[in-house]
Each structure stands twice: as structure tokens, then as C-alpha cells.
Symmetry: C2
Subunit: 157 residues, 2 copies
DNA sequence: GCTTTCTTACTCGGATACCTACTGTCCGAGTGGAATAGG
DNA sequence: CCTATTCCACTCGGACAGTAGGTATCCGAGTAAGAAAGC
């Protein structure tokens, strides 16, 4: 099980957009964001589109256009970013194999209670989501230090 | 992000092996285990090998051979099964893009503190693992009900 | 000076190709219990 | 009756093909700010 690499990119870009916002440097062109972290511009564009579809960023068309955060960074969580890029569906998908093979002839009502394995997996994923939802983009930006933020802003000025 | 389908198979098979153990019906041939849940025998064999490598099951060669749990089901957790099938590595892999692009020229010592995003992701995965480690195969078997266990044993007798 | 047109610099979305990892199958080698053959 | 051989039912491990989804690139369409041109 491996997470989409775009999640890392999107998270870093969101933090960067927050810093730029504080300096009045948004919207920032997608191509420059990609260049800031040496990422393939065309592919990062796809991830940015996904963020926009999820309402995390908004993009401004036309000259002097670009991307910016759609709401304060304190109200954007890592969970939001993961869900936008990696999809909202669970990693574990129960295929109800307990109803196959030796139990194929059994009446369906015997399986009305959800599969215990699926239930446990679901609980673990909920814990994971809860943790991700507890960290906001603003938290991440704050703990990085002002010097890095300043340098980023200088790079875009 | 999607989890290996074999994890579901392996978990169900472990529960089944626990039931069979209680009836003195182990070791059970891999082919029969596959047929019990209508799974492709050759591919399930691969997953069983992975379980054996992880020390969760042990396989008995030769005639009347098969597979059985290597230790009591109460001491096998879902986390063990997931790690055996899906690999022990984290889903999120930090590639340190913060050190690229506009920060490529910066001295390395500025990045001695771990990346905040990677840290948060790691914390969330730890919460996930903790939950999985809290559920044992015996727990799963118990909550399913004795009737299903009896039927499984009857199928192997 | 004001309005219109044009250019430019962006985003958006689809089409496409590649590559990795998961899914699934097959086969030969090894192993050990049970049946069989020989003394 | 006892021992040695053969057979059979298993597992193990590697090799291999197919497929889905993640990675990456490209291109045309749409949009808006600012410059240029015309009145």
C-alpha cells in the first residue's frame, strides 16, 4: 500500500501558498510553484486541479492569474488534502468473500451483520483520518520557521 | 491509495485456521482453504507463503501436510497480517522536495529537523497501526459466532 | 482621453503514452506419510 | 513380521503474462489583464 506521491506535493504547495498569501503574492502561477520545488509542471497542474475541485484552492484565469488558497490555512487540514488528491474512498475494500465458497448456499440474512474484519479495518482508518484532520496547513507552516517563509516570498517577488 | 486485496484473504484464512485448530483439523491443505472462500488457489498460495515468512503460519510439507497457525490466535493481530502481506513500509514516503528547487543551494544542516508534513503523516499511520494491533484473530473469530465456526469445521471434516 | 482590438500569460480539461505494482497462472523441486514389495 | 522402496499429496519458490492505476507529457480551448491602435 503506497500513497499517491502527489499528496506530498500538494501539501507542500499549500503551505507555500499560505506563506505567499501572507505577503500578498497570490495568486501564484502553477508553473512557478512547480519550479519552486523542482516538480514536473504538467503533472503538478493535475494535482492543483484536484485541489481546486475539492474547494481547497481556487484558480484565477487569465493574465496575472494563478492559484491561491480558497480559505484560511487554519481551516485546511491534511485530511482535506489527502482526500482531494488520493480520493475519499477507504484503502481497505471488503469484497465479502465470507459469502463465497462453502457459504455460497447460505441465506443472505445470515450476513446482515457487517464483516468483523472490515469493521476493524474501518476503525483503524478512522483513527488515521482523525489524526490527519487534527493538523492544519497553518500548523505546518508555523512549525517550519519564519526564515524559510521569508525566503519563499523573496523567491516570488 | 488502495490496500492489497490479499490482506482480506489472509485475515479470513487466519480466522478459519483458528477454527480448524480448535477442532483438531490442522494442518489444512492450501487448496482447500482457497476453495472454502472461492479464491484462486495459486494466488492464495503466494499470500500464505508471505504469512509463513512472517512467522504467522507454519506449513507442513508432504502428504497430510498443509498450513496452520504458528502461535495462538490471540497473539496474532491484524497488524501482523497487514505487515506480512502488504509490507512493513509506510504508505507515505517523504521525498524531501523541500530541499529542491528554490532551496537546492541551501546548506543541508538547515534541513536537519524532519519535514513537518512527513512527521504528521507518520503520526497518523502510527495511530492506524495501533488500532490494527489492538484486534487479534481470536477477537475476530469470537465475534463471528459459534455456528459459523461449526459449519467451517464440518466442511473440513 | 476614451473605446476597441490585440497580444500575452495564465488555467482547464481531455487525450495519450509509459511504467510500476498488483493480480493471477504455471511448473519443477523438495518433502514426508502411507501403501507396497521383498526378504 | 520387518524393512526398503515406491507412490502420492502436499508445500515451496521462481518464472511468467495480464491488467489497473499512478506517473508524466502534450495540446487546444477559454479567460482576463494590459498594451496597442483607432476615433
Amino acid at each position: 500500500m503506497r500513497m499517491n506521491e502527489g499528496v506530498e506535493w500538494a501539501a507542500h504547495v499549500c503551505v507555500l501558498l499560505h506563506w505567499l498569501d501572507e505577503g500578498g503574492l497570490t495568486p501564484a502561477p502553477a508553473a512557478r510553484l512547480a519550479e519552486s520545488y523542482d516538480l514536473p509542471a504538467a503533472y503538478l497542474g493535475k494535482q492543483l486541479q484536484a485541489l481546486a475541485r475539492a474547494g481547497i484552492t481556487e484558480s484565477v484565469a487569465g493574465r496575472r492569474g494563478g492559484v491561491r488558497l480558497a480559505r484560511p490555512a487554519s481551516r485546511i487540514t491534511l485530511m482535506d488534502v489527502v482526500a482531494a488528491i488520493d480520493g475519499p474512498s477507504d484503502a481497505f475494500a471488503c469484497t465479502e468473500i465470507r459469502q463465497q465458497g462453502m457459504n455460497a448456499e447460505r441465506p443472505r440474512r445470515e450476513f446482515s451483520k457487517p464483516c468483523g474484519i472490515a469493521h476493524a479495518m474501518r476503525g483503524a482508518e478512522l483513527a488515521w483520518r482523525r489524526e490527519l484532520a487534527a493538523t492544519s496547513i497553518a500548523d505546518l507552516a508555523d512549525e517550519t520557521g519564519e526564515r524559510v517563509a521569508d525566503r519563499a516570498r523573496a523567491h516570488f517577488r
